[in-house]
Symmetry: C2
Subunit: 156 residues, 2 copies
Amino acid sequence: MTRSFEPDATDRAILRLIQKDAALSLADIAKEVGLTPTPCWKRIRKMEQEGVITGRVVLLDPEKVGLGVSVFVAIETGDHSAPWIEAFATTVAKMPEIVECWRLGGDVDYLLRVVVPDMQAFDSFYRRLTAQVPSLRKVTSRFAMERVKSTTALPI
Amino acid sequence: MTRSFEPDATDRAILRLIQKDAALSLADIAKEVGLTPTPCWKRIRKMEQEGVITGRVVLLDPEKVGLGVSVFVAIETGDHSAPWIEAFATTVAKMPEIVECWRLGGDVDYLLRVVVPDMQAFDSFYRRLTAQVPSLRKVTSRFAMERVKSTTALPI
DNA sequence: GTGTAGAAGGAAAATCTTTCTGTTGCAAGT
DNA sequence: ACTTGCAACAGAAAGATTTTCCTTCTACAC
């Protein structure tokens, strides 16, 4: 796979800035990277069109909105067929409590992060998950005690 | 812990929208939630001041910027003292490849997600991590094969 | 050398958004 | 019924984004 996009030092500088704070005005970004607003805007638009920038979002404090409990769920499946994988992905997509789902190599097949208000809500989620997904061989839930670090900024 | 902020249905509707797309104009948001731009803006500003909204960021496609490899690192430590915990948190904060770090309850003490360009870069990271952090009892790395789901939008 | 094409930057104007002002309407409490 | 407080609205001002057009620089051909 050859990369279609090769950001130069200025592109990277812009990305580093707006990965941290997308509310910066073009004037501010431009000043930081040593350009005027126009070429800066052109670079950002190009990166949006090429799909390098996939979106702009606001981040919320989970505690403040009553969603302070994160649980990691490690799943080992007994069925590795394509239809099972596809059905599982569909189920995952439909459950908003699942904010992350990764298919892994090795002993664990899937790792989920689930966000809920409290343990009771997690229990309710857990029942729904295990009821809907067949062929689960082993499901291990680990509760997060502390969010030591969590960033959306990639180390570019 | 009593929640200082109680969002009403309109606040939640606004948050659901801008969690998905923060580039929406106030006019668009207002139309969606059935308000005019001004009260809408006041609600958003209030939520920013109260810390409910912690930031606005752009999200990047990891593949497109050459950071397509995510690795989950599960850590069991032999030292559970406060100074060790603090030193570990400091080290984690300083390593930009670590995009997430959670302290867990149960058998695994910490779970990290590490983002790197390739396996070689992961090896380099791994060496640096194990060299800098003392008293690691067990470190298990699992490579992500597929990002089935990954969202910053909380199920509010 | 000279000419040309393409890429990247910049200035200024047009357009659109955000932010602020003052005002109105509604609901709860007296 | 009257006040009080909150949340909404309309419209204006301030500010940001987006467009247009122009200049510069480099690479390549003649």
